[in-house]
Amino acid sequence: MKIDIIKTLFTRFLSSVLTLFLLVSFLFIIIRLSPGDPTDNYISAKLGTELSEKIAEKFSLNQPITNQYFAFISNIIRGDMGVSYNYRLPVFEVIWQYFSFTLVFASISFILQITLSIWIALWVIKKRKRWLDNFLTNSSIFVYSIPAFALGVALIYIFSFNLNIFPISGLKSLDYDYLPFFSQFLDKLHHLVLPLITLSAGGVALFYKYIKESMDELNSQTFILNLRASGLEDNVILRKHILPNALRPLISVAGIELGILLGGALITEVIFSLPGMGRLTVDSIFSRDYPLVIGCVFTAGAVMILANFLADIAKLRLDKRLIKGILN
């Protein structure tokens, strides 16, 4: 059994490395195919072409493309992603600054999504009202259909302009540096309320639908009927027997969702101008900061793989029989 698990881990690791390698190679090809040359910036009427040639030589841009590719790959293997053009800092430092925010933001949102959706589903099942059930199922599709930017803009309009309860954008107030520690924390939380609602609404609706569907299916199965006939309380059946089984299909969806969240909540960050990975990625793409683009996409891919891996482990904890399925 233990050897099996180690083998699984090893093959998983190898295949994720291969995936990341292919991803990075794909990016390299796209960037090389795209029109425009970084050295074009250094050509002008006064300078002639000398400076641009010098720059090309310094960054080995005049070497054959295969050599450049191998140099690029070997640098990545050594953990050197290069230096960002805009920030003039090593790529990993820039990414770490932004990723720390995304990590906190995504984790809060993820926990919020899971707990809220489970809580609502349990509440609805306990209530046993058909109209409530139908209403929530339909409204979950509706909420899931609202695009993040429409929801975000609507929230800003209602709560920031008309009611003036929450700030429009950013993460800190102007007087942030002069506040005591606890108020600093509250200030950040205050700024994060609207972004968290924007980011989490769709996820809550999606998870709710998944949990509710599998709970309904379990509810009609014979082993639940058996438990009920043997006189177990409804509450206990719900918590001990239905909920753990209903969580299983949720976990793979949750893994993907966590990966996407950690890769950066693109639209939400753009609307509320938050310093996260999504905005960093898009900004670096728009400003053609190639090393940073590769770094960001690499991070998003790695995080996605990690999240899927975590989801598999969670599934394994719930059901040991699944080891065979994950092995492949």
Binding site: S15, L18, T19, L22, L23, F26, L27, I30, I31, S34, P35, G36, N138, I141, F142, Y144, S145, I146, P147, A148, F149, A150, V153, A154, I156, Y157, F161, E213, D216, E217, G259, I260, G263, G264, L266, I267, V270, T281, V282, I285, F286, R288, V293, C296, V297, A300, G301, M304, I305, N308
Partner: protein
């Protein structure tokens, strides 16, 4: 017995409503078509010269509009879907199809038309201005071609028109005085366009208000719907073709291609694809075609998985080996044996893919990477409206509502379709 409203009733209702509301316009379009046919018979080369997109668009949609419902009624025995029960999402999707097909009939304004900015800028919904039509000066005999051009400009509105003046209010004296923000201006009475001795001064109502350039939001929304749906349908069609062909090859032959494609799918399913889409569009430039192609290429993976697994299971069946032994070619096997069997799950997948693509296109337009400024689309309308959020809520509310309702209708009808196909899932 409870009598439910069926889809055919809704179709008929929309059709009759449009005919009643736009009767004059339809007659105008028809007369323009006859005009063109007579021009074509007389002077073919110049007739081909004056052919442009908006004329073809208007005449085609008029013809389709007039023919489609009678044809549906004639063939109603074969069309089973029109007898289905109507619900909100079907109703909305059908209305969307109407907007997509018959945009020139629903609104005969030009989405880019802007004139007299001081009067028409950022008007709230249901506000109105006075519209004065001037008479274009023609001092010589008109040829047949020029008559057609003139008529066509009168009916199909061009983006620029010097002969129209928008004003807050108009005074009719021996000179015509009109006001722009309380500033009086005047024109000669005889330069006006007369219809039965009465000068043409109309009240122009902006149903959903105007945007920051004084353009009619309703018309922009109608044409924006067209762009969004075109992108959605195009990308879905592309994904469908790629997914079904690659899935068939991978399932049928296996081998190296299967392994490569599997790895490829794995990468793309294990990655937020939107970043790659943004990357490609930002580096290679974005237009409506590149958006369709990139979104189409980024969406076929789930379809590939479904088709591959279905083909693998069908391959074991007897009828499949019979088809092979009879000597059907691969294309025939694909189109006659496999597609009819797998069309149901594929269709459900396509519906969800459509809603994903529409959402992605809106998000891309919101980021400024969409179909460009030349076409209004929901996402770009929301993103440009965000600047005026304090002054003009309608700039965001209506495109946003359109987008949300479209996604909701697509998602819920996708679920309904899934339920019909696989009743075990509740």
């Amino acid at each position: 017995m409870k009598s439910a409203i069926k889809i055919i009733h809704w179709l008929l209702f929309l059709w009759l409503l449009l005919i009643i509301l736009r009767f004059e316009l339809i007659i105008d379009y028809l007369s323009l078509i006859f005009n063109y046919i007579s021009l074509f018979l007389g002077d073919t080369s110049s007739a081909i010269e004056v052919l442009n997109f908006s004329f073809v668009d208007a005449s085609l949609s008029t013809l389709i509009f007039l023919l489609i419902i009678p044809l549906m009624l004639i063939f109603r025995k074969r069309l089973h879907f029109i007898k289905g029960k109507l619900n909100f999402s079907f109703a909305f999707l059908i209305a969307l199809c109407f907007v997509f097909l018959f945009a020139p009939i629903i609104s005969n304004e030009n989405p880019e038309f802007s004139k007299n900015l001081s009067v028409t800028k950022l008007l709230p919904p249901l506000s109105s201005v006075q519209q004065i039509e001037l008479n274009p000066k023609m001092d010589r005999e008109l040829t047949k071609l020029e008559i057609f051009r003139k008529n066509s400009e009168k009916i199909i509105k061009p983006p620029f028109n010097d002969n129209v003046i928008m004003a807050d209010s108009v005074l009719l004296n021996d000179k015509i005085i009109f006001y722009h923000n309380n500033q009086p201006n005047e024109v000669e009475r005889n330069s006006l366009n007369f219809k039965d001795e009465i000068p043409v001064i109309e009240k122009r109502i902006f149903l959903l208000g105007t945007d920051e350039f004084g353009r009619d939001l309703f018309t922009r929304l109608i044409y924006g719907t067209r762009i969004s749906i075109t992108v959605g349908l195009g990308a879905v069609l592309l994904s469908f073709i790629i997914g079904i062909i690659l899935g068939f090859i991978a399932g049928y032959q296996g081998g190296l291609l299967d392994i490569v494609l599997n790895r490829f799918t794995e990468i793309f399913l294990a990655f937020p694809v939107i970043y790659l889409v943004i990357l490609i569009l930002a580096f290679f430039g974005s237009s409506i075609f590149s958006v369709i192609i990139v979104l189409g290429i980024s969406g076929w993976m789930s379809l590939f998985k479904i088709v591959k697994s279905e083909v693998l299971s069908i391959k074991q069946k007897d009828f499949f080996s019979t088809a092979e032994l009879v000597g059907l070619s691969k294309l025939q096997i694909l189109s006659k044996e496999i597609i009819p069997l797998i069309i149901a799950p594929v269709l459900v997948n396509l519906v969800f893919l459509f809603s994903n693509v529409v959402l992605a296109e809106a998000a891309l337009s919101y980021l400024g990477l969409g179909t460009g400024n030349s076409f209004p689309s929901w996402g770009s309308m929301i993103s440009s409206g965000q600047e005026y959020i304090t002054k003009a809520w309608w700039l965001i509310a209506f495109p946003g509502l359109g987008l949300i309702l479209t996604l909701f209708s697509t998602n819920s009808s996708g679920m309904l379709l899934g339920k019909m196909i696989n009743p075990r899932i509740k």
